[in-house]
Assembly symmetry: C2
Homo-oligomer: 463 residues x 2
């Protein structure tokens, strides 16, 4: 049976099928929930928003949706940058924002069990009170949810040393499209019992199931990091420093590059006091006291050889100030115009070619492109800054966007290091995967979601 | 079309379909290749053994097998412990032993591209010459292949600090059941383009595809480790030391427990010179010079509090001697009788209950059970030692085996931390996964191998 009609009718039927679930059909609320932070991605008109609190409630919603073949779009905090949480027409938006229980923290085994709607920063503070540390730190961490982080396999600044979100997900509870409840993984440090379904769901962007519980790995608390900054008059030497620093036996815990466009944007809002002629900045940290001296000295030596001027922070406060420059890049660029943010990741040794190529694309298309990012991982965020009110400029930004992805692939990289595919990069995903990869993706999607109700059109084009 | 008949007929047809592939139908050779190291697992009679050298040759074999619906059993060095590489009747054994090319080592990006038949130890020596380090070190590393390690997601002693094999696999080339060639993953440090198929194939034990190339992550060379050993008169205090040591901010790179049964077996072949009354031993290492002192002192303090006597090795040679005791456990137990090796992994704090429970199972069944393992990860190898010529004793060993798995699950653990499922634990996998988990496994298997020709009956029972 296929249900059509107004949101009100669907809302009433849904409320009857899942009587304990909060169902919202107020158009203003729905409109406020229709999109994530990918401002340029299309979003449809949802029919209802549900805010379940329990796994059973999620299952009831999905059984209803399957029965009536209604699309379901899972949403966390909608901080994604690829339109992965954007509404499709007639969809039920399934928000996890009321699933905020931290069911348990096991300090001795360094694990935690949480519902998906827990905010990353809230969780990090709670585990810190137990002397523990949850490393994944996407830029959105003060707002984004642990479930959303897992569904997109979010990265961040800490990845360089600690790995991405999926590296900290040991097990999941997932409600499948038809309402069945699946448990994946384990709570132990190791395990090879069956296929790695945990990793299959992590990063699948809500297209295969809805995560309703996560078993996360924690670490002992890290020490306050020590920080150094290097100032360059060009990007190429900074890229070479990245390769050299990452060759060392002990890696920094953070290695970020700020490019000239980003630096200029930040400078328009505050006096950075950087040496005259500085166009490019590298920032590094080490959170391991036994190695920090060597890591920072190695960084300083490499930067010096490439003509950089280096400052080592004289304490945590100055370190935070250095890093604040990096953290303010996003906001500064948003003040310059519409942003279309890229996320290519290339082998580290190709960074130099990536930034040079982005410069050429900017010159060719006339689009301003910033190119800041997680240089230590080769994961940069070229960001087209443009006037969205000018169709020609928006079109040029779109062309530049495509050219940057083509460049990333040509350099042996991937179209997305950490932001995910969503709707933004769906067509490019097909190029990266190739026909066999796409067929296998389609087969897995069809196996787990045969009616195609789960986040349709995300990651993969609709069949 | 279904082909039956003698191996000779099949061999001739196969040689015609894949003319460049070495095809062997000599019964003696086939017999020598029919099983892995899981001596108690059943194996069938294979029809042919092929030794392809290239991806195209593997694809030709699989196209032929699909066309004729002939089962294919992928084999590396057959060092597995779960019967995952055991022949099934009428199967083509697809050995990767001639796929031994190391296609490239990229020292700056710390990656390598290899064929699956490269021996782990050979590879480790080659990358060491580049100042690099490939951590995965299953006990079989001198014999086992990188492809087999990936197909089983092998663990080892280094896991404690560095992670398991899959943590070092960035991308794969896989030949699917019908001969299509799939590329998964990437060579970059990060990437979220599509579903994590790399992790799906890693640990799938040849049931979803045949790995024909691996892109592996490497690390800068580690330093020579420092080693300490602690002697206890019982297992419980040693287990408590494990929990305490793993709570520390900096973890050891190795933390192994040798139980009384194993220690007695080793002692029968050499004079260990351990303090009188020693029944249980913990061995730890740190390969990080900046932290080794603190790690070893922390270990010594924790062991001392629990009544252990501690020796810190006075150099690498003595450290190797300490570890040699651990490494000789497997051989010493094999000299005592038939071995049925377990691989349960439990949360670290449940180790004490695990070893106590194994002791009770031993008393109840009358079966000698050793219980040595990777204590830092909670991954122990309870090993039933019995007289295989006595059916009653073999049956009791089988009962003890089942009871240990039930115990592992009851303690919140998994039936296999690193050895895999194969045929040995297929029925127990169903118990660990539960009905929904099993359905999803079956769906994925059917999607990727609709004819069920790939390693049939391994991991999952035949449909």
């Amino acid at each position: 049976m296929t249900m059509t009609g107004t949101g009100g009718e669907l809302g009433a039927a849904l409320a009857a099928a899942a009587p304990t679930v909060t169902v919202v059909t107020d158009p203003a609320v729905l409109n406020a929930h229709r999109a994530d932070h990918a401002s340029t991605c299309p979003s449809g008109t949802p029919a209802a928003l549900v805010r379940p609190r329990t796994t059973d409630e999620v299952a009831a919603v999905l059984r209803f949706a399957s029965e009536h073949r209604i699309p379901v779009v899972p949403q966390g905090a909608r901080t994604g940058l690829s339109g992965g949480a954007n509404a499709v027409d007639g969809a039920i938006l399934l928000s996890t924002e009321k699933m905020t229980t931290i069911a348990g923290i096991d300090a001795d085994n360094q694990t935690a069990t949480v519902q998906p709607g827990v905010i990353n920063a809230d969780f990090s503070r709670v585990v810190a009170a137990h002397g523990l540390f949850y490393p994944p730190d996407p830029a959105s961490w003060e707002m984004s949810t642990l479930g959303g982080n897992a569904a997109t396999n979010a990265g961040g600044l800490c990845c360089l040393k600690y790995g991405v979100t999926a590296d900290f997900v040991r097990g999941l509870e997932v409600v499948l499209a038809d309402g069945r409840v699946l448990r994946t993984g384990r709570s132990t440090a190791k395990g090879v019992a069956g296929y790695d379904l945990t990793r299959l769901f992590a990063g699948s962007e809500g297209t295969l199931g809805v995560i309703t519980e996560l078993t996360l790995a924690l670490r002992p608390a890290a020490e306050t990091p020590r920080t150094a900054i290097a100032f360059f008059t060009g990007m190429a030497p900074a890229c070479d420093v990245v390769t050299e620093v990452m060759r060392a036996a002990v890696r920094p815990s953070l290695l970020e590059l700020i490019d000239p466009v980003s630096l200029a944007a930040v400078s328009r809002h505050r006096d950075l006091g950087f040496p005259p002629g500085t166009t490019t900045v590298l920032i590094t940290q080490s959170d391991d006291p036994a190695h920090a001296e060597a890591v920072l000295n190695g960084f300083a030596a490499a930067a010096g050889r490439e003509g950089g001027e280096v400052l080592i922070a004289d304490g945590p406060e100055e370190g935070r100030m250095f890093l604040a420059t990096r953290r303010s890049v996003g906001l500064a660029l948003e003040r310059e115009g519409a942003n279309l943010s890229e996320d290519v990741c290339v082998p580290r040794t190709r960074l130099r070619e990536l930034v040079a190529g982005v410069g050429e694309i900017s010159a060719r298309t006339g689009v301003t492109i910033a190119c800041t990012g997680h240089a230590g991982d080769g994961n940069m965020h070229p960001t087209m800054v443009f006037d969205a009110g000018d169709p020609a400029k928006a079109a040029a930004a779109g062309q530049a966007f495509d050219q940057v992805m083509a460049l990333g692939l040509a350099l042996g990289g991937t179209i997305t290091g950490e932001h995910g595919v969503g709707v933004l990069k769906r067509d490019w995903l097909a190029r990266e995967l190739g026909p066999v990869g796409l067929e296998v993706h389609g087969g897995i999607k069809a196996t787990l979601d045969p009616l195609g109700i789960l986040n349709p059109g995300k990651v993969l084009a609709r069949c």
